[in-house]
């Protein structure tokens, strides 16, 4: 299988008050055509910055190492015209807050047809017709009327569906969805995710789905990468991640969420707070919060390595296999 998107050893530093700070450290991931890949992490994990790096939308002054290849082409080396084509028709992005990514004084119709007219060279009339069809496909009622409305007249859920159809309009091969439902109510989230998932499958699009919710990622993705402090600490089949996490952090993340089906006396919570890459200790980034931390974890940074169809960045992944899948809570409670 040839990869559609291939990220290899990506590291990014950003200038903050005069010094370069690490925000992404050695991230590698591969997305095949039509594949959905989840990127899960807490704040500061670098998941959104990874998406920005893929779109080449990093803030000025950012320094990038490593390679990002789309369809075999080096994204970092694209010239102006090629970059416009890449952003305009190869990759589409859906953001967390649709309202801040639309122009409040332009109608939905203007917004949706702009890309079609510019990138596809469509006439205004044809573009409008296409927009109507697209809105219809994401189950927006009365699309003709919606096209005449302004962003503030639409609810968050509806506006996000408009954003999805606008993203689909340019017929991209990869969709990057950055927390597309975080700002929505839970029932709207289910609806928007269902539509996004359906449209993606129908069109055979690849997707990079960025979220803080492991279960949500598992519901719509084939494979999930868990990020912590700017690095991928684990990657494996999305549905297996919950049952058999290989990294203590992924295990902690999935166990820390309370369950809708039962309450527990105490949640297994690791101490400390999620760190950004530049704050992380020099050994294993998770070392100071890990219930299983050994001297080696403090001394030596683990590499991402393969373990039974999973990629994991932990020195003791083999030894912890059973514990993480089963009795992990006990250990964490003792640790706490």
């Amino acid at each position: 299988m040839t990869a559609l998107l291939e990220i290899e050893g990506l590291s990014v530093t950003l200038p903050v008050t005069g010094e370069q700070r690490q925000v992404i450290h050695d991230v590698s991931l591969t997305i095949g055509p039509g594949q959905a890949h989840g990127l899960v992490g807490e704040s500061g994990s670098g998941k959104s910055m990874t998406a920005r790096a893929i779109m080449r939308l990093l803030p000025p002054g950012a320094q990038v190492q490593g390679a990002i290849r789309f369809d075999g082409n080096d994204v970092m080396a694209l010239n102006r015209g090629a970059l416009r084509r890449y952003r305009g028709s190869d990759v589409a992005m859906i953001f967390q807050d649709p309202r801040s990514h639309t122009n409040p004084v332009r109608t939905i119709g203007d917004f949706m047809t702009e890309a079609l007219c510019r990138n596809r060279g469509m006439s205004k009339r044809a573009a409008l017709q296409r927009a109507v069809d697209l809105l219809d496909e994401v189950f927006v009622d009365d699309p003709e009327r919606r096209l005449r409305q302004y962003p503030h007249e639409l609810s968050g859920g509806l506006l996000q569906r408009v954003m999805i159809s606008a993203a689909l309009a340019v017929e991209p091969r990869l969709i990057i969805a950055d927390e597309p439902t975080t700002a929505l109510d839970v029932t709207n989230q289910a609806e928007v995710m269902a539509i996004l998932d359906e449209q993606r499958r129908e069109r055979g699009l690849a997707m990079l789905f960025i979220t803080h919710d492991l279960d949500l990622a598992a519901a719509v993705c084939d494979r999930t990468s868990v990020m912590y402090a700017g690095s991928v600490v684990e990657a494996q089949a999305a549905e297996r991640l919950h049952e058999s996490p290989r990294h203590p952090y992924s295990a902690a993340l999935s166990k820390a969420r309370p369950s809708i089906d039962a309450s527990v006396e105490r949640l297994p919570a690791v101490g400390g707070r999620p760190l950004s890459a530049f704050e992380a200790p020099s050994g294993c980034a998770f070392a100071d919060r890990c219930p299983f931390c050994q001297q080696r974890c403090i001394d030596e940074a683990p590499a991402l390595r393969e373990l039974e169809q999973a990629m994991v960045r932990c020195h003791f992944a083999e030894e912890l296999k059973e514990t993480l899948a089963g009795d992990f809570e006990e250990t964490m409670r003792e640790h706490a």
């Binding site: 009622d141 839970v186 609806e191 269902a194 993340l253 969420r257 919570a269």
Partner: protein, 288 residues
């Protein structure tokens, strides 16, 4: 004033109408005929999505909003009207407190935790600096902040630490009721778990009553014994949290429950087949 058997919060027939803004607008009924009892030491969740009226309900109970009709009793005393005199305000402050959702904006950026709590205690009439200092130390211990964090400005603290400060501030005057307005919703998963454990500890230690305002059913299950579900201002279902979540009776409660991602969950479009019906309206089409 205090009655030993009276519920901590008793709300009856509460209604709030916001008058229309501008010409031709319709009045907005935010809360319609809400009734509940919250016994002392209990914990009640008010569950709903945006526009359900849950926040308006909480604001009325707190005295930040005047009900259009209905009554609010706190510890058996009528507190329907927002307090006017300064002594009434301080009295209400000792009855009910709040922790807000947004840890970044719920603290005065110019005050450290200890200065903030010191001021609260002074306003409440604790005149001896020594007493205040020991109470602050006690509170910092309850919420798990060290001395450096207690004297740091909010901008030097993480979201979770700020939320701990907010909890300490709310507990400072030993209130009967603590309103948790989406208090863990903005936190990272690992911090959220710490905070939920802290809330359990605080309740065990102080016997405080929780009124949790939330859209997150998993958090509701973890924190509360009873819950009411609100939709567009109305209570659509009420009962023990475990009963309501295990066997939801109302269609909207079922929809809420089924929309929560969990292991093995798949998102399903409402009324998947109906392409021309009202199914894709952004607002819910659920009978209540």
């Amino acid at each position: 004033m205090s009655t030993p058997d009276a519920p901590a919060v008793q709300v009856e027939g509460l209604r709030k109408v916001f008058p229309s803004r501008g010409r031709g607008g319709r009045d907005v009924v935010a809360v319609e005929d809400v009734t509940f009892d919250l016994p002392k030491g209990g914990s009640l969740a008010v569950v709903g999505e945006s526009g359900s009226g849950k926040t308006t309900l909480a604001r009325m109970v707190l005295g930040l909003e005047r009900p259009t009709s209905g009554t609010i009793l706190l510890d058996g005393t009528d507190r329907t009207e927002p307090p006017r005199s300064s002594s009434a305000r301080r009295e209400r402050a000792r009855e009910i407190q709040i922790v807000f959702q947004d840890p970044y904006r719920s603290l005065d950026p110019r005050q450290s935790a200890s200065r903030c709590i010191d001021e609260v205690l002074r306003v409440q009439g604790m005149s001896k600096a020594e007493d205040r200092r020991s109470r602050i130390a006690e509170l910092m211990d309850v919420v798990g902040l060290d001395e450096r964090q207690a004297t740091a400005l909010p901008k030097a603290l993480s979201g979770g630490q700020r939320q701990r400060v907010a909890i300490a501030r709310a507990l400072a005057v030993k209130p009967e009721v603590l309103v948790l307005d989406e208090a863990v919703a903005a936190l990272d998963v690992s911090i959220q778990a710490q905070m939920l454990n802290l809330l359990a500890d605080v309740r065990a230690q102080t016997g405080v009553t929780y009124l949790l305002i939330s859209h997150d059913l998993a958090v509701v299950r973890q924190v509360t014994e009873d819950m009411i579900v609100m939709q567009r201002g109305h209570v659509v279902e009420r009962g023990k949290t475990s009963d309501v979540l295990d066997r939801p009776q109302d269609a909207y409660t079922r929809l809420l429950r089924d929309s929560v991602p969990r292991p093995g969950w798949k998102p399903v479009r409402r009324a998947s087949a109906a392409k021309n019906g009202g199914a894709s309206q952004s607002t819910m089409e659920v009978p209540s």
